[in-house]
Symmetry: C2
């Protein structure tokens, strides 16, 4: 077994789910890249006793490295550094040079807020300059410094204490990694490979069966750590292995491609978003959305540089908007209903024309919870991909789940329909 | 102290951050509503030893209830039930009646996939009918049953084992809650109140200072468990207290309203989304988005019933789209640049007209990482809210953070500008 690590995410707002944790996943990626085995992520509120219990738990799990996030702010409910110092058996001391550096940062910030009392702000932030004795200080990116510290008595995992805001935590990570204490802790790491296969279409049971067969047929299968996951409408198979098991992995990949054919759309880690972006190079796309209400356009513009291939989109939620902005014939809506392949086609063709695009995708459906009928229940969604001088691609699906599930899966399906049309 | 609980989230895809955990937050809300103190959420991969370590940790933290999610699928990496049975000192036994019920579910599913080998699927799913001896079975919503089980020896927290897909977990929770074992475990719970104050504008330091003053002035302040959090561009103050401390909470709320005035936009839990939806009743809104690329429309259509107030939107990513779909004069773009209050105004006015709407909001900005200049750096975003016969509301901001931060914060600001314009 290589070097193991644990992550402690603190913050009542994260524990209670009011804020989604972005630090655990981000740190997990960094550890993975380094070849460090992430064993546990633990989340607790801003309570010293619970934070201390998690540190003790992780230390007992033979981790060499613990990374904490959160609890470094100026408010009185932020107690992580104190608690880590206690766990390490170290006193808290005021670092006066650090206090001066924090004050300098605050002075700059405060110039943008002229009605703020600077002394009050400075007092509120003084607490952030009190650090465990013997700790290495990580310079603040916001106003909160981090620390790297080790316990005075065994077990002695190296503890990296970082602030909660993802932007600050991410910017401070390289400095944490560069400290002697962290370098010593992770010296014995193994370099794993990780590869991802993505499929769109097959059921999870069919994949389970394929993996059972592969287990019987592929020598060294046991050396592959395979995790499968159904996400939105896709199956993702992630395999982690030491370089010596590369042959077994190659055979697994070949077996899955063989069995599932075109449903395997990616074996190199690329997502459908990556592929659509690459395929769109030199072409203009447009969207015409009803039930997805802008999420397809939002997804297409998520990537830097998307202004080179997304001309634009229309969210035509009302029937009037479908006619006025996309030129959909009101009679078509009257005859077939707004949720129909006929209307989906007219929307896509309208978007193509209005934006002068090379390809357009449309969605119209019933996301729920209301609006369903016996003939068109909640979850019914029609799609069209249109391109000049080509027959339109039409699709109707019935999706399970709640409003948010239907909207999210519809967005994924629209991406796959775009991908297939572009690749043809 | 009341009844404490812990949540164990299993799944390598969640631990490694490939899938965001939605079950921890959802379960946290349910526990909170019940007056159960959530002490810890722990996340680990699909490894029995790590799952067992987390169960032992939580049991040692005096929790009366542990809820696990994930690891109930047909694939061989799903091992949660096995591990929980081992932790409880209980044998695994095949429940043949349950197996028949799972088979019946599968038979229905398989009719939709004619090319699937039914016996292979059935074999893959047989494992799901093997449950700990003495456990209460929770009927499957997908194909995976849950269980409620208690250890044979102390410590004996009640353990609820639920599947990973949020839709299944959520649908099975009421049945889990209704079991005798769970009811017995949570019998001694305290009913807390929780109230939320939301502010848009003030800095976190200013809030910290206000809370410090409140602590000195308000009797019973120590009875309030206050957590503050900076989320997107908003500050959220959540306070949890026993009913006897209601007077102290009322004084805290009054003190914050007094100090921050209009910046406190909600004291009843309503989000800006809730308020905008309520204010729009009987009116039609439209959007015209550039840098947010559909996210404002996506947020406005997130709620059921939004078709009653969102007419539609245009994502005018290219300059041509701004002119063609929204009627923005190309000379205006030439003179002032696409990211300017002049163009933002023309976009909003264009959307108002094209959709025949009562109010329209527009965004145009530089989300980055490229496209910035000395005069208009990355993060510069212009907004306009337009309504017939009213002067337009214009705003330009410079937002920190990466592309995703800028897009998300811009979306929140657009919502607040809409709220203010509608409330006036």
């Amino acid at each position: 077994m290589g070097i193991r690590a644990g992550i402690v995410v603190t913050g009542t707002e994260v524990l209670t789910g009011r804020v989604a944790d972005r630090n655990g996943p981000w740190l997990a990626d960094r550890l993975l890249e380094l070849g460090i085995e992430l064993a546990h992520i633990t989340i607790c509120g801003d309570r010293p006793a619970d934070i201390a219990a998690q540190l003790a738990f992780l230390a007992a799990q033979d981790v060499e490295l613990i990374v904490t996030s959160g609890g470094l702010g100026p408010t009185a409910d932020d107690l992580t550094v104190d608690t880590v110092a206690g766990f390490c058996g170290r006193k808290m001391v005021l670092d006066t040079a650090l206090e001066e550096r924090i004050t300098a940062i605050l002075r700059k910030l405060v110039t943008r807020m002229p009605d703020l009392d600077f002394d009050a702000v400075r007092a509120a932030n003084r607490k952030q300059a009190v650090v465990p004795e013997g700790a290495t200080v990580l310079e603040p990116v916001g106003t909160a410094p981090g620390v790297v510290v080790t316990p005075l008595a065994a077990p002695t995992p190296t503890i990296v204490v970082l602030p909660g805001p993802p932007r600050e935590l991410q910017a401070m990570w390289p400095a944490a990694l560069a400290t002697d204490a962290v370098q010593a802790a992770i010296a014995g790491r193994v370099h794993y490979r990780q590869d991802t296969i993505r499929m769109f279409g097959p059921a999870e049971s069919a994949l389970a069966e394929a993996l059972r067969l592969a287990e019987a047929e592929i020598p060294g299968f046991a050396e592959l750590e395979i995790t499968t996951c159904l996400r939105r409408a896709e199956l993702e198979i992630v395999t982690r292995y030491e370089p010596a098991a590369a042959d077994s992995y190659d055979r697994l990949r070949a077996a899955l491609c063989d069995r599932f054919g075109d449903a395997v759309y990616s074996t190199d880690g690329a997502t459908v978003d990556d592929q659509v972006a690459a395929l769109l190079a030199g072409r203009w796309a447009a969207t015409a959305e009803s039930c997805t209400g802008g999420l397809v356009a939002g997804r297409l513009t998520d990537r830097p540089g998307s202004s080179a291939y997304l001309a634009g989109g229309v969210v035509s939620y009302s029937n009037a908007a479908k006619s006025e902005l996309l030129g959909v014939d009101p009679e078509l809506i009257e005859t077939h209903g707004a949720v129909s392949e006929q209307v989906a086609e007219a929307m896509a063709v309208g978007a193509l024309r209005r934006f002068g695009a090379d390809i357009a995708v449309s969605t119209t459906g019933i996301a729920g919870p209301g609006g369903g009928s016996a003939e068109k229940p909640v979850g019914t969604v029609c799609f069209c991909v249109a391109a000049p001088d080509q027959p339109p691609v039409l699709r109707t699906v019935r999706l399970p789940g709640n409003r948010s599930d239907v909207r999210e899966r519809s967005t994924t399906i629209a991406m796959h329909l775009l991908r297939r049309a572009l690749a043809d």
